[in-house]
């Protein structure tokens, strides 16, 4: 066996070996990014495994829902009654937030005013005025609903019947998920009605958000996609 050939084979093996090492390194360092550099490696592995499982199941759920939708469509194809029911079902699903919806509307971005510090703040001002609070979001959502918004999401978290917006220390909890500034609020509905309602003198935007420089942008968009609520809606106490 010539020396050249030996070197070639060893070189190829080294390619495979280092490729594997680099991939492994990437995976492990990414994993410690998710869980932090905690000491308990067993718990860490457990957490990562559950997370993976959750993601897999979530993808599966989406696929199953698609399949269900198709089966429903096929079933209602040649029957007028059931196709009416099907449309009704679609509408209701859009209403309670279990399907992605699309339409015209407004996208509002509000963020904490980072230019204000303890040094340059006015004497009678309070620094907390310059932050976005849960109550600001609540009032904004309320105004949007009042103006006829049909679907609303904050940072892609759909606002549904059971959604609560609460304060959780320095973040805001929406649907039990932690959110922080900036907040992107998407609302599907009549653009004029929504803009008119939220920009009116004396309204929330004029009175508070503009005044403290919390509004980053307000955009009219013709095609807004609002994702579905990605939790599970459980009824325990409601009896049909």
């Amino acid at each position: 066996m010539s020396k050249k050939k030996v070197a070639l084979i060893v070189g190829i093996m080294c390619v495979i070996l280092t490729t594997a090492i680099v991939i492994q390194y990437k995976t492990v360092s990414n994993a410690s990014k998710i869980t932090g550099t905690s000491v308990n490696s067993e718990l860490k592995t457990e957490v990562l495994k559950w997370k993976e499982k959750y993601e897999q199941l979530y993808v599966e759920l989406g696929k199953s829902e698609e399949r269900l939708e198709k089966i429903r469509e096929i079933a209602s194809d040649n029957n007028k009654d059931s196709s009416d029911l099907q449309n009704e079902l679609k509408k209701l699903n859009a209403l309670i937030g279990t399907t992605d919806v699309q339409g015209k509307g407004i996208v509002i971005t509000i963020a904490d005013n980072n230019k204000v510090t303890n040094e340059n703040i006015g004497l009678l001002d309070d620094i907390s005025f310059y932050l976005i609070h849960d109550r600001d979001l609540l009032r904004l959502v309320n105004e949007l609903k009042n103006a006829g918004a049909e679907a609303i999401s904050i940072n892609d978290e759909r606002i549904i019947n059971t959604t609560s917006i609460t304060c959780d220390g320095n973040v805001v909890l929406i649907n039990g998920k932690k959110m922080s500034s900036p907040f992107v609020i998407k609302a599907i509905g009549s653009q004029e009605a929504i803009l008119g309602a939220i920009e009116r003198p004396g309204g929330l935007l004029r009175n508070e958000l503009y005044k403290y420089g919390l509004v980053s942008s307000i955009e009219k968009q013709d095609k807004i996609l609002i994702y579905k609520y990605n939790g599970v809606i459980n009824y325990k106490s409601i009896n049909q």
């Binding site: 030996v6 390619v15 995976t27």
Partner: protein, 127 residues
Amino acid sequence: MIILAICIGCVLGAIIGINLPMIPYSYSSYLAISIVAALDSVLGGITSTLNGKFNFKIFVSGFFGNAILSILLTYLGEKLNVDIYVGAVVVFVGRMFNNLGMIRRYYIDKWSNKKSEEKISTENKAK
């Protein structure tokens, strides 16, 4: 020659690895054990080359065979709730140290031989 091949292989492998996607975390323990097995095979291959006993078939079958076998053993261990991979790691790392020791001895011998030859030749010249 072989050292050059190893260097080029490592650089190429690193470039390929950076561009490849990550694997799911639950498989990373299998990849880790197969890396140890492969590393052992490569070191074994280098040692046998230095000794002049390099055999292509043994080397390649050891490289892939050990990696796959260790993955299977790890899998079995997981099913039986025994840490079999620990045993595999002990064996592979032990062999790695053996091989490294042989490589070290080979180069030290070579180096000291050279030194003594030089000494003899300078003495001859002086005469």
